[in-house]
């Protein structure tokens, strides 16, 4: 029991505490790749601390939904952090649901954030909301079909079960179905977390932004919560990519030594994925909004191919 609680706390600390560092490292890498010096990797912590100390300006047009949303957003990501196998294959809330729950938990956050974007009554917020839900809606089929590809080969849709199945048989990983599903899920990750080429997280140019337009009205502690939640979402999506598709070094149960090695393993995997993401983000331009559906349709095609290859190769 104590080990379980300690495991859950360790996982929360790793996700909640590690997420800003992940974003910081990503920004630093991107700056380095384009020849700038860039802020230090731990700059996001300083940003969050600064925002928490600032007074929040709240538009008089808004309702309770605007103020409630940042808390709910953090809550959904924290719950998601207890469902995703980050350190151990069966985390504290792993029994409560599988990846379908996870996707709809993120959707719950998106739902309220989109409402908050409409709440202030500015055209920017509405534009951001409308685009954000469009991208999220189109990404959904790919997620579920990519998961289907995994579930078909693992014989379960339980996240822990998938991890244990693929960890137990390394040959399962070297398979076209697996790689196709990985590629599809990677594209979805970029869309869901608002990375290039779908959305530019660094822009404040009003007509090209999606996520940033939606949260434009937030300031002070609310903005801190929203930013922190986005960082955690990125962390969790990268973790899913790392641990579902390459589940090496994920122990089944908690224990001091197991947790320490698991933390090292996930750090290494996240470092590789972050570097890949930085490389992609510095080498592609943002797509026009109405080209994004084509990208997502492409990822859906990859996921469907993956599923079909399972049928053909069985």
């Amino acid at each position: 029991m104590i080990a379980e609680v300690a495991g859950a706390l360790a996982q929360l600390v790793v996700v909640a505490g590690g997420a800003p560092l992940l974003v910081g490292v990503l920004r630093w890498l991107k700056a380095r790749l384009v020849g700038r010096r860039g802020p230090r990797p731990w700059q996001p912590y300083a940003d969050l601390a600064k925002l928490l100390r600032k007074e929040a300006v709240v538009s008089t047009t808004t309702s309770w939904i605007f103020r409630f949303t940042p808390y709910l957003l953090v809550a959904t990501t924290l719950v998601a952090a207890l469902v995703v196998p980050v350190l151990v294959s069966r985390p504290a809330l792993g029994f409560a649901g599988n990846i379908i729950l996870l996707m709809y938990l993120f959707m719950l956050g998106t739902f309220f954030l989109a409402l908050a974007g409409l709440d202030a009554g500015s055209a920017f917020g509405g534009m951001g909301s409308s685009r954000e839900v469009a991208v999220a809606a189109l990404a959904e089929p790919t997620v579920v079909v990519a998961v289907l590809a995994l579930a078909l080969r693992a014989g379960t849709i339980d996240l822990g079960g998938v991890v244990e199945r693929f960890a137990g048989d390394p040959l399962l990983v070297a398979n076209p179905a697996h790689l196709l599903a990985f590629a599809a899920f990677f594209i979805v990750m970029m869309a869901e977390t608002g990375r290039l080429p779908v959305d530019n997280p660094a822009t404040h140019l009003e007509l090209t932004m999606i996520h940033e337009a939606m949260v434009l009205e937030y300031s002070g502690r609310y903005l801190a919560l929203v930013e922190w939640a986005s960082a955690m979402k990125l962390f969790l999506f990268l973790t899913l990519l790392a641990n579902l598709f390459f589940p090496w070094g994920v122990p089944a149960g908690p224990g001091p030594l197991a947790l320490a090695t698991a933390a090292l393993a996930i750090a290494a995997k996240l470092a590789v994925l972050t570097a890949a993401l930085a490389l992609i983000e510095t080498s592609v331009a943002k797509l026009r909004l109405f080209r994004v559906p084509e990208l997502l349709a492409g990822s859906f095609a990859l996921a469907l191919l993956s599923v079909m290859s399972v049928f053909l190769l069985r």
Binding site: K54, E55, F111, S129, F311
Partner: protein
């Protein structure tokens, strides 16, 4: 009849129906036969688990709808309302074809009268007319199928039909299934038989729309289940494939139209089509699994479908009652004239938000549970060793996922444009909160959405029991313990209670941390607007603008009709006097399917007029000819 009496009688009727239905679900058998009452076969009522489930669904929807009706002064049609509720309760109880058709027709006529009740415009007259025609076209299919079944089995009793399916030839079974599926599909609003639904629902008073969407449409599904699973027994796999594809198409088409419509009640009506589609995907999966001999998965799929039907009754009734309160307060059904109602109508807003979260299938409310269950059933399709069926399932899964994502967008738009930001019209700015009765009705339904979401461990075993009774298989062993629902061994588990508790805890955590850290307070300010001086409702994003990305992305489906009229001054074309812009989706089903069919009908009728010369001698000749043909045939 005064509104209060109607409300009390309707609620009492609903409570009795719900109690009887729950008893039926739990396995109580009951039947009543009055052979002398109506000519062929007499009146026969029987209660079995499947009928009990739909009876309970009708009853539990009727209670809040009646309470809501009690708060509406000056609403007419009390008698028709009661007849409607009673007829809907009789449909799942009917034990033979005569009883069934009588109840079915009474239900259709009563709802027609109710749709016509608010005949304030040509629009509602034409809506009632389309509804009347469609519902009777459906009835004709049912009548034909039931007479065929009656003549093949020499009985009009449903119990005999259930016992007989193996005696029917495959061709006969298929013909009966197609006719029954068309008849029941028209009532359920399946694409392309859905055209009456978005017309009739907005025209009816809101508590009637709630009943029509929550309960009546479900009786179409009830009929389909009876036909496909009970009367005609285990059919071939392609029946299930057809139901599943029709369901997927309904779900996608429904949500795509819901996403762009500007009439709040039409949005809800289209979303009903979507949800019926989701139920049908589960039902189709059940039929395919059954045809493939996978009985446990068939039970799971059917239980998921029934769960979604129940959930949809709860949240769609809630949303229609909420929409009724909003429409009454704002004096319009047009989304673009609403806004800011969360301040003026906080209770209605909270109820509508609960319904929106539930219908968007977001955890931990009820819509999520049934959609999760449907996904669990569909994802196990690898058990079927036929690649072509696997592909159908994969498409069903993808369609369901896309539907889920679009439903989120649809209800962000519906709630956000109606309730948030600044009011877009004077009447919306002066809106007043609904009375006690509507609020109580909405509160009941919102509580039902939460309860059905948090207690799948109690609901699912009962529904699995109903499913296994229909399919004639042993019940699932222990699908749930007190905390977690488990499907198919270790394939997947869900505990919405744990998720809700964790969400609650996680909500408190940042609040406590901020309180401890003594974060500075907040200051009221204006919405950022790049230096503009005044913020008005005209600067807000509209519902049309919100739907615009979807309209561009799904352009191939909407095929919008665009028109731009600019009226300029005679002196200079730079001074615009008036600007009219129109951009609405083309109603492709009406234009490509119904109009050609109606035109063909008109042409045929025109030709047939040649027969009617007006001369009595020619008519006598027709009679003689007909007589001769009959004699020859006999």
């Amino acid at each position: 009849m005064s509104a209060t009496v109607t409300a009390a009688a309707g609620a009492a009727l609903g409570l009795v129906a719900a109690a009887a239905g729950v008893a039926g679900v739990l396995g109580v058998e009951w039947s009543l036969r009055v052979p002398w009452l109506v000519p062929p076969g007499g009146l026969e009522l029987t209660l079995d688990p499947l009928g009990g489930f739909f009876l309970a669904l009708v009853g539990t929807t009727a209670v809040p709808a009646s309470i809501h009706a009690g708060g509406q002064r000056g609403e007419r049609g009390g008698a028709a309302f009661l007849a409607f509720v009673a007829a809907m309760a009789a449909v799942p109880l009917a034990g033979n074809a005569i009883t069934f058709l009588l109840a079915w027709e009474l239900m259709s006529v009563a709802s027609y009268v109710l749709v016509l009740g608010a005949r304030d415009s040509r629009e509602s007259l034409s809506a009632a007319w389309v509804y009347f025609v469609m519902t009777h076209a459906g009835l004709a299919c049912l009548l034909a199928a039931m007479l065929l079944l009656g003549s093949w089995t020499d009985s009009l009793r449903f119990a005999d039909w259930s016992a007989a399916p193996s005696a029917l030839s495959p061709g006969a079974g298929t013909l009966a299934f197609v006719l029954l599926a068309l008849g029941f599909g028209a009532k359920a609003g399946v694409i392309p038989l859905h055209v009456w639904l978005p017309m009739a629902h907005p025209a009816a008073p809101s508590h009637v729309s709630a009943l029509m969407s929550g309960a009546m449409v479900k009786l179409g599904i009830y009929g389909l289940l009876r036909a496909g699973l009970d009367w005609l027994g285990p059919g071939p796999a392609w029946w299930g494939v057809a139901v599943m594809l029709a369901g997927t198409a309904s779900a996608l088409v429904g949500v795509l139209y819901a996403l762009v419509d500007r009439d709040l009640k039409r949005v809800l009506a289209f979303s009903t089509i979507e949800n019926v589609g989701i139920v049908l995907v589960a039902v189709g999966a059940c039929m395919v699994f059954r045809a493939s001999g996978l009985e446990a998965l068939a039970v799971l799929s059917l239980a998921a479908g029934l769960y979604h039907a129940l959930n949809h009754a709860a949240f769609k009734a809630l949303l229609f009652l909420g929409a009724g309160a909003v429409v009454r307060a704002a004096g319009t059904r047009n989304l673009e004239s609403m806004g800011g109602l969360v301040r003026r109508m906080p209770w209605t807003a909270a109820a509508f938000l609960t319904g929106s979260v539930a219908i968007a299938a977001l955890p931990p409310l009820n819509g999520f549970v049934s959609e999760w269950l449907t996904f669990q059933a569909l994802l196990q399709m690898l058990e079927i060793p036929r690649p072509e069926l696997n592909l159908v399932f994969a498409l069903g899964i993808a369609g369901l996922a896309l539907t889920g994502g679009l439903a989120v967008a649809c209800f962000v738009r519906a709630f956000g444009i109606v309730f948030l930001a600044l009011p877009r019209s004077d009447q919306a700015a002066a809106a007043r909160e609904a009375g006690i009765a509507p609020r109580a009705a909405m509160g009941l339904l919102a509580a039902a959405c939460v309860a059905l979401g948090l207690a799948p461990t109690l609901v699912l075993p009962a529904l699995a029991g109903v499913a296994s009774a229909v399919l004639g298989t042993p019940a699932l062993d222990a699908p749930a313990d007190w905390l977690t629902v488990t499907v198919s061994g270790r394939f997947g588990g869900l505990s919405t209670v744990a998720v809700a508790a964790a969400l609650g805890g996680a909500l408190l955590l940042p609040l406590a941390a901020l309180a401890l850290a003594r974060a500075p307070g907040r200051r009221p300010g204006e919405t950022w607007g790049c230096g503009r001086i005044l913020q008005t409702a005209r600067m807000e994003y509209t519902g049309t603008a919100f739907a615009h990305p979807f309209q561009r992305i799904f352009d191939f489906f909407y095929r919008p009709v665009k028109r731009l009229d600019i009226d300029v001054h005679a002196e200079s074309r730079f001074f615009v006097r008036r600007l009219a812009y129109e951009n609405r989706p083309r109603p492709i089903f009406e234009e490509w399917l119904y109009r050609p069919a109606l035109e063909a009908l008109h042409r045929a009728a025109h030709r047939a007029r040649a027969l009617q010369s007006g001369s009595a001698n020619v008519y006598l000749l027709y009679i003689v000819a007909a007589l001769l043909v009959m004699l020859v045939l006999a």
